[in-house]
Amino acid sequence: GQGGAQPSSSGASQAVYAGDRPAAGIQYGIGAAASPAQVAAWNIDVQPDGSNLPAGSGSVAQGRALYAQACASCHGQQGEGKPMDRLVGGKGTLNSAAPVKTVGSYWPYATSVYDYIHRAMPFNAPGTLSPSDVYAATAYLLYMNGIVPENAVLDARTLPQVRMPNQDGFIGPDPRPDARNAACMKDCGR
């Protein structure tokens, strides 16, 4: 499910602003070149192929300890949620009347779990975890969801190899417009 994206068709709309576009093809020489070292400090995203994953590693056991100390207060001892997002379970519910979307049941890529924890968790101290901590937390969440075994150790090599249960659960490209209304004007629906 790569989901190719179609940008909106704004051909007609563009006419409104046709006379109000900056000239194309000019190098203004504004701003500073970003050196490789500078870029490296900002370049934190992790894609499904594992590019950009840092050195370090973490095991399920390390993750269990970390989770109890830094995560459980918000996400529950078993990842059951309350007060914050539920992180465990929900498999088989996606086509039911009450779908439960979690890391285990819904997320397509394990790299996204690493990436998100690294940028935003723990909510009360975001960005404070070391890469090994993040690998460990990810390992424990995947373990709780039955995706990796209890002895799993995650690092830049093993994490991208984890196959998530719902990896094929996403579809694209955007099939909309998908609902049709005939725009009846008089005595409709009789």
């Binding site: 499910g1 989901g3 994206a5 940008p7 909106s8 068709s9 704004s10 007609a12 709309s13 563009q14 109000d20 576009r21 900056p22 194309a24 093809g25 000019i26 203004y28 701003g31 500073a32 070149a33 970003a34 500078q38 870029v39 900002w42 370049n43 934190i44 995203d45 894609q47 499904p48 192929d49 007060p83 914050m84 996606l94 086509n95 009347a97 979307k101 997320w107 890529y109 790299t111 996204s112 990436d115 998100y116 940028r119 935003a120 909510f123 975001p126 659960g169 996403f170 579809i171 694209g172 909309r176 417009p177 609902a179 049709r180 209304n181 725009a183 004007m185 008089k186 005595d187 409709c188």
Partner: protein, 398 residues
């Protein structure tokens, strides 16, 4: 107030008014200029404020709604622009803030705010809507007012640098298909944007309705993707990275994907489809006397201009074309208006818009027929307001 159309203010006020030629304020000096230097609304409008959702466990990752029932025209005042944050509103120093542009480019750049202000700019009036707007209304009427049902919607004049200009400055390499946009808030919010959108009408925005962005709207810098779901318009923007692949960030997978009845989820549904709503009369109001009054509402489409809005006062049996506020702009709120001579009986008010692609805003039944009840986002169905014999207006499904 939220509830005020007419009839709310007692006979006492009307009596006082009969001698308004002798009103106190006509006989004493008012406040001096600059009371205060940055002005505020009248105390009589104190109920015109953003209001919170009751669905989130923390106000740090939460949203607040624009009071659409109190607004006219198409501009949303900055103080009433809807909010959605994932780690609160950061207090960013514009002098220290930097934007880094890198990835599949020839000349990676680091830009200060002063740099960005020197570049060629444009201003555009565009709406911004959270794709979670109206999410409470799938299974039945839930929120009482249009602020609750549709208030994750606002509109402003945005000023900034076309992203096409920035792309030229850094030089995109062959094969670029996506751009990651990333914020400097503590959620380090990020989304993947298709390159065609980036080069079409995306803007690097620093001003909103004339003045610099408000903190809640991304001060000092945000992305604007006209007509795309709100979450992608990354606030507090600190980084743009060009790539040949999407990034599958948490927001675009775990959150802003649309679950279908078969358990598959639509990924990368970006356009905000055509939608409209009557803002007056609307839920929670009470209309006073029978007779003429103007029905007013908003229509918008992420795919271009609104070309027509129809209004029904009998629950969708018969429709009449409404007047559209001119000029009608693409990917912008369009105010519609229609006079209505209320006879005093029960009525059901609806609006239905058509955009320049020919797309017609669907009924909820038409939407649910194809998407089921689990997709959370992108509810753009026709909204109904019931008017009771006594003039009370409520949220109904019709």
């Amino acid at each position: 107030g939220v509830l005020a159309l007419d009839g709310l203010h007692g006979a006492a006020a009307a009596d006082r008014a009969a001698s308004a030629g002798a009103a106190a304020w006509t006989h004493e000096q008012g406040k001096p200029i600059l009371s205060p230097p940055y002005g505020l609304p009248s105390p009589h409008e104190a109920d015109v404020v953003r209001r919170p959702t009751d669905l989130t466990p923390t106000p740090l990752s939460s949203w607040s709604f624009t009071p659409l029932q109190d607004l006219d025209g198409i501009i949303t005042p900055n103080g009433l622009f809807f909010e959605r944050h994932h780690a609160g509103v950061p207090a960013i120093s514009p002098d220290a803030h930097r934007l880094v542009i890198h990835g599949m480019v020839d000349r990676p750049l680091m830009l200060s705010m002063d740099d960005i202000l020197r570049l060629p700019s444009v201003s555009r009036i565009h709406f911004l809507e959270c794709s979670g707007n109206t999410l409470t209304e799938w299974k039945g009427p839930k929120e009482k007012t249009v602020q609750g049902t549709h208030g994750l919607l606002s509109c402003a004049e945005w000023t900034g640098v076309p992203l096409s200009v920035l792309a030229e400055q850094v030089g995109l390499r062959p094969g670029v298909k996506w751009m990651l946009a990333e914020g400097a808030d503590a959620a380090v919010m990020d989304r993947s944007i298709p390159i065609a959108k980036v080069l079409d009408d995306a803007l690097l925005v620093y001003s909103q309705n004339g003045e610099r962005l408000r903190p809640e709207q991304g001060y000092p810098l945000r992305l604007l993707l006209p007509g795309y779901e709100g979450n992608m318009n990354i606030k507090w923007l600190r980084r743009l990275k060009f790539s040949d692949q999407p990034f599958y960030t948490r927001e675009e997978t775990s959150k802003y994907s649309d679950l279908m009845p078969d358990g598959k989820a639509r990924l990368f549904t970006f356009d905000m489809e055509a939608k409209s709503v009557i803002t007056s009369p609307s839920g929670g109001m009470r209309i006073g006397a029978p007779g003429f009054r103007e029905i007013r509402g908003l229509a918008w489409s992420g795919r271009g201009r609104i070309s027509r809005v129809d209004v029904s006062v009998d629950g969708g049996r018969n429709w009449q074309q409404a007047r559209l506020q001119s000029p009608v702009l693409p990917k912008c709120l369009t105010r519609f208006r229609m006079m209505w001579n209320w006879q005093g009986g029960p009525a059901i008010l609806q609006s239905r818009c058509i955009d320049e692609t020919g797309y017609v805003q669907p009924t909820l039944a038409e939407l649910v027929a194809v998407r089921g009840l689990n997709s959370v986002y992108h509810l753009n169905a026709i909204q109904s307001w019931g008017v009771a014999q006594n003039g009370e207006v409520t949220n109904v499904h019709a």
